[in-house]
Every structure is written in C-alpha cells, then in structure tokens.
Subunit: 415 residues, 2 copies
C-alpha cells in the first residue's frame, strides 16, 4: 500500500490552480472567500466518490468519514487547510489535504478495515492573513472561538468575520454547533510542510513535532515629525524611519541573545508615512512576531523588545505606541501520538527528526480536545508563504506513507 | 508701502483650496495637471486686473509684466511655483506667488515707478513628485531641459512629460521657445518658505540664501529570502528587513560624521515585500536622498553609503542592487543679489540669517541665466511637504516687504 507521487502531485496542482489571479505569482485564496469554498468542494466531491460520508459544519470545516468496524468507537482524524496568505506557495495546508485524499484512496482501493471511524478534515480559515486571527475553523472546533468573537475581527476592507461567514453561506449564530465533543474523538494527526529548513539542513525527510511555538504579536507605531529632507539638518530631525530601523535591529538582537536560543523574532511588515524620497518620515509602523517554545522566555523577549523600543524612541525624541495584536502560548503536542508516529517512521525504515514547530497550526487547537500529533515534510530552502515554496513530491509521498501507517497504528493501539 | 497680512492670507487660502480632494488632508496639485493650470489662471487673471501684461510660455510658465520707465532695460523677476507634492502643505511655492501678487498690488496702488520691467513668474512643475525630475518649468526656461528630454520621464501611470504637456494644451515640440535669453534678464529673486527649522531655532524671521544644496538620489534594492517567521531559526535567515534597517542607520551615520557637518542624508521611503507579519521579508527597497553644499563631500558621502550598504548586505548574505536616480550639484547663488537683499532687510530693521537652502528651487535653475537670490520665511517646526506645514502670515508679510524693497534696490542699483 504505497502512496502514488503522481496522484499527490495532481492534487497539489488541482488546489494550487484555484486562485484569484492567473497572472500574479503564487496562490491567493483567503479565508472565508468563495475560492476557499470551491477548494473545499473539490475535496468533498472526491471523498464522496471514494464512498466517504461528507458534511460541512457551521464554521465551514469540511469532513469526510470512513466508517469503523466498531461503530461505537470515537473517530481518529487527519487533515489540514486549503486557505492561503496572499501570493502564497502551493504546499502550505494543501500538502496535508493531498495526503489525506491519497490516504483515503489507498484505504478504499485496498479495502483497509479499521476499528475506529477515520475522519478526513479540511479546516476553514487557518491563515491569519485576512482577519489577524489564525486557525479560526479549528479554534471554533476546539471551542476556543465562539459566536461572540466574530464581530470584532475585521479584514482590511472592514468586513467582520461574522459577515464573511454569511457571505459564503454560513450562519455565524450557529458556530457553537461546530464545537467538537471529546467523546467523539480518539486522536488527530496533521501532516504539514515544515516551513523552515531544519529538516533540509539536517538531511532528514520526515519530522515529528513535539511542541508548537507560541506567538506574541505586536504593532509598534513610531511618530516623529515629517519635514523636508533637504531643509532639516540631522540634529533637528525627529525621523520615524531611523528610530524604526533601530527598533528592527533591537528585535533581532533580543532574539539572538545566547540565553534566548529558540526565540524567533521578526519584523515582517513596515509602513512609512508619507513615504516620499524628499520627506523625512513623520510616522512608521512595525509589525513584530515573537515565537518561542517556552512561554516565560517568550513573554520576557516581548517585554524586552518593548523596553528597548521605548528607550530608542525616548532617546530619539519620537513617540512610541505599542499595540498587542495576539498572544498564544507554546503548545506541547501529545506524547503518546508522537511515539506512535515515530514508530510508524521506523516501520518504514525512516529515522525522523523530532522537532518543534515554529509556525502555528490547526493541530495545536484540536490538541485541546483530543491527543494530536504532527508530521512534517521538508520545505526547500525553508521558504514558505512565498510562490517559491517547494516540497519534493517523493518526500510528500513518504510523509503520506507515515500518515497512513500512523493512523492504522493508532487504530490498532488505542484502547 | 506695507504688505497686508490679510490679503496674503487670502491668497494662500485661495490657492490651497484648488486641490484634488476636499476630504484628504493637505493640498494635492501635481505638475502639469488641470488643477495646476487652474491655479496659474487665477494668478494671471489677478495680474491682468492690476494692469500687467500676461502670457504663458510653451513650458507652462506664467508671466505678468509691469513695464519699466526705460523700455530698453532687461527685466527683474520674482516668483515661485503653484504645483505641489501629494498631501502637501499650503505654503510651499504658494508663499512666493502670494508675495509676488501682493508686491504687484502695492506697486500698482502706490504707482511705483521702476526703470527695469518687473516680471512676476509662476514656474510650472517645480515638484519632482510626479515625474521624478524637479523644477521642470524653470529648467526649460534655463535651457537645462529641452524637447528631447520629455519622452523618457514618466509618472506612475506611465504618462510621459510630453504627453502631460499635451494633456494641458501645451506643445512639447515648442518648449525650446520658452528658453530665457540672457539679455532679457537683469536679476531674479524668489521668496520661499524655509522647509527647515534653522530660522525658527535661531529666532530669525528672514533668511537670505547663499547656496542651494545638491542632491544625490539612490534606490537600494535588498534581496533576501522570504520564509516563515515561526519556522526559520535566526541563524538560517536571509532577512531583507534587518539588512535594510542596518543600511538606514548607516545612511544616518554617514551624514552625522563630524567631518560631514552640513551633509543631510535621508531614507524617506521603504517598501517591504511580501509585507506580512508572519513572513521574513524577501525584499526591501530604500530610497536615499543625500544633500550637501559641497559637491565633493556630497559625492564622498553617497559613495560611503553605497560601500557600507554593500558590506552590510555581504555580511548578512543578502543581495544589493544600487540604482542612481538623480544627481544635482550644489549651486552658489549670486553674491551681489544676496548683498542687496541683506541691505533691504536692514533698511526694514531686520537682521537676516544668511543660510544655505537644503531644498532645491527654481531659483537655482534661473541663476544659470541671470543673477538670482532667495528670501526665506520661517517654517513652523521645520515641517514641509505635509499638511501641518505652516508659516505665520506676519512673517510672510515681512518677507514680502523685503522682496518689494529688494526689487526696487536692484532696480536702482543695477547698471
């Protein structure tokens, strides 16, 4: 029962083609848009052809179930997401859905029997790019986001999450019905691309995740005084850009202190106003993301970034406004599920790397309801959230083999 | 013969209201647009009412002439511009045109006689915001820009300078006819806001300019590797933003070296791509403006900025591409005209600051044809190119008095 790389490649391609523009580079399929729904429908249709029972919950998560031989057992699940950031790659989320589709095909064609029902899941709205909040579909499934949380999160056009749900035919008032009950689930496994270069640089083809990083997100608004680049001597300036540049380097410095090995801090977005070559900037905004596997270290790093930014801005005579955007603690995934996945690798003669995930995932949300594990496949050059994102289809096929073997091992060993 | 602050204020207000939007902050009246032409038409109409002879040249510069008592004498000129950068203030350019209008009114109402004809001029397209090139109208007048230069400069929408001229009813093939002949001119004086805080911080109400800074403009494109902010450890990154931040601080450092007092170097615009909080930036572009009063020092500062940027990018493993955008040398204005303006100040019991101009001006272009001087009035907090740009109308009235007295002194003393 060997996954077929050509079929996996065809699924990757099928989903990558459902994108807003044929001319822009990469995939753009934002959360709770008709394009995301189209991709879910392709998944549902193929699963129905394979004989699975298919449904969509009130959060827009799509399910396909293969029945178990013991109808009273709770489900074992696997899946990922089909939405993307703007100008994304073709593997983030899609890889795990393609692996789920290929696993379902293998189980159907080989008439594989399992005691537990197996549920293949596509979560809605995993990327935070549109509404700021990541993993909305899986957070609703885990009971971490409820109907009252949908009116205050807005996209760049001012559309609320609740309005976006209604826009694609979902009823935001009903999202509580999408919450998972513990007794319905036995375990969950998500396959995902690493979105980093640890596997590649250590020459491993499979990773098994032990912990998912937490993330503290801040917006820092620096306000100086706009003035003419020629008319204003250096000592009379209140330049928002030079202050912001110093803060960017402080963010990097805080994360590269030796006692903070493991901390990752990034300024990925900068806005400068008015943004003219002949005007000293009056304002600059920085978006900061601090990730860590250790909650205390994460909090200390974020606090030190704010302290250093305050000192820099005070010294430079510009104002600083700090806005917390999001705060999620690190999440250790299930030890027993991890052990089963490591054994599944060894059964296939593969020694996996056991490693943390720097990115957040649906897996960490559903882990609060049912024991959850994650399989990583390598990302070429560690590139992700970019059209150049790439995973070799042979690695994805190996990951799918680990997924299928892991699901059957869980089925055999769970009480 | 005292300038009337209320009339000056009314002119400032009249011109400031001719703007693209009633809701956006500030004045937006780009070069060679119908709005710029509307503003010129208001000037021409009022000047005609005051009995001046009015015409527009092929570059779109508008002239209003009061005859001299000696018809064979060349003209003494004054004026400024009425176009603006986007979301500009209400004084840049406008102040000098308001002062010209008020001077013409005073001369008409008091029946002032002068030997030389006096020409009040509004130059077209002074701001480089639309086409990259500053002072297009005065450069054409000075013979520094000709008909062959109008096809390769384009605005953001791809419209060439030649097309923009045709769009407002001007004939680009005829611009050579707008070139000034040396024998037609005796001297020129421009009144302008300082666009800096040197007058304010030294408690002077009037400045007389000795030299106009040169400007070297560069675009620096930094290319790293986009990757996930969570998935990529600090030591595996090629972050375009941290490299760019270090370059911004190097630009500042180069200009604040003690041997470079007088050098002004600014990064006023930054673009980051893809610009997402969860993606390490794969690319960042910086726009750098280096100004100096000393041509050698300006060239050395620009070269050192490039050297430092190359070293920073090499050390950080990112690529750097340097594109020169523009290069203008510093321009010493006329010593004799400056002396006359200083004497005009003292006649009014005002001690002027003699200071350089950091910004470029039409005055430096026409100085290549006829001896030219500049009067500065203070800019509150040094702010310019911003809706908060402000000059007290009493200061503008005093500057207008210096202008009127200066023009009459030139008339009396020039041979």
């Amino acid at each position: 029962m060997i996954p077929d790389p050509a079929r996996l490649e065809r699924w990757i391609d099928t989903f990558a083609r459902i994108t807003e523009s044929r001319t822009d580079p990469g995939v753009t399929r934002l959360a709770y848009t008709p394009l995301e729904r189209d991709a879910h429908a392709v998944f549902a249709e193929r699963m129905a052809e394979l004989g699975a029972t298919v449904w969509v919950d009130a959060a827009g998560n799509t399910y396909a179930q293969r029945p178990g031989t013991d109808p009273d057992r709770p489900a074992i699940g696997t899946g990922s997401h089909l939405d993307s950031v703007p100008n994304a790659g073709r593997f983030d989320g899609i890889a795990g859905v393609a692996a789920a589709l290929e696993t379902a095909r293998l189980f159907a064609e080989h008439g594989v029997e399992h005691r537990h029902p197996i549920r293949f899941v596509v979560f809605a709205a995993e990327e935070g790019a549109r509404f700021g909040q990541a993993c909305t579909g899986s957070r609703i499934a885990a009971g971490l986001t409820g109907p009252d949380d949908l009116d205050d999160k807005r996209d760049a056009a001012g559309v609320t999450l609740a309005e976006a749900l209604r826009g694609v035919g979902l009823d935001p008032a009903r999202v509580a019905s999408a919450r998972w009950r513990r007794e319905d689930w036995a375990a969950f496994v998500e396959l995902h691309i690493e979105q980093g270069a640890v596997l590649e640089s250590s020459h491993r083809r499979i990773g098994v995740v032990d912990t998912v990083s937490g993330s503290t997100r801040l917006r820092l608004d620096v306000t100086g005084r706009a003035s003419h680049s020629g008319g204003t001597p250096m000592h009379l300036r209140a330049d928002a850009v030079t202050a912001a540049a110093e803060v960017v380097l402080a963010v990097e410095a805080v994360a590269t202190l030796t006692e903070r090995e493991g901390t990752r801090a990034t300024v990925g977005k900068i806005d400068v106003s008015p943004g003219s070559i002949t005007t000293i900037a009056g304002a600059a905004s920085l978006w900061v993301d601090v990730r860590d596997l250790d909650a205390d270290r994460q909090a200390r790093a974020a606090a030190e970034i704010v302290e250093r930014a305050e000192a820099i801005c005070a010294r430079r005579g510009v104002r600083l406004c700090v806005r917390p955007l999001a705060e999620t603690p690190p999440v250790p995934l299930s030890g027993p599920v991890r052990e089963v996945l490591v054994e599944a690798c060894r059964e296939l003669d593969v020694e996996p790397a056991v490693l943390p995930s720097g990115a957040s995932h649906d897996a960490q949300q559903v882990n609060t309801v049912t024991p959850t594990g994650m399989i990583f496949v390598p990302s070429k050059d560690g590139i992700s959230h970019d059209p150049a994102e790439w995973t070799d289809v042979e690695d994805l096929a190996l990951g799918t083999a680990v997924l299928a073997a892991g699901l059957l091992r869980l089925d055999a060993t769970l009480r």
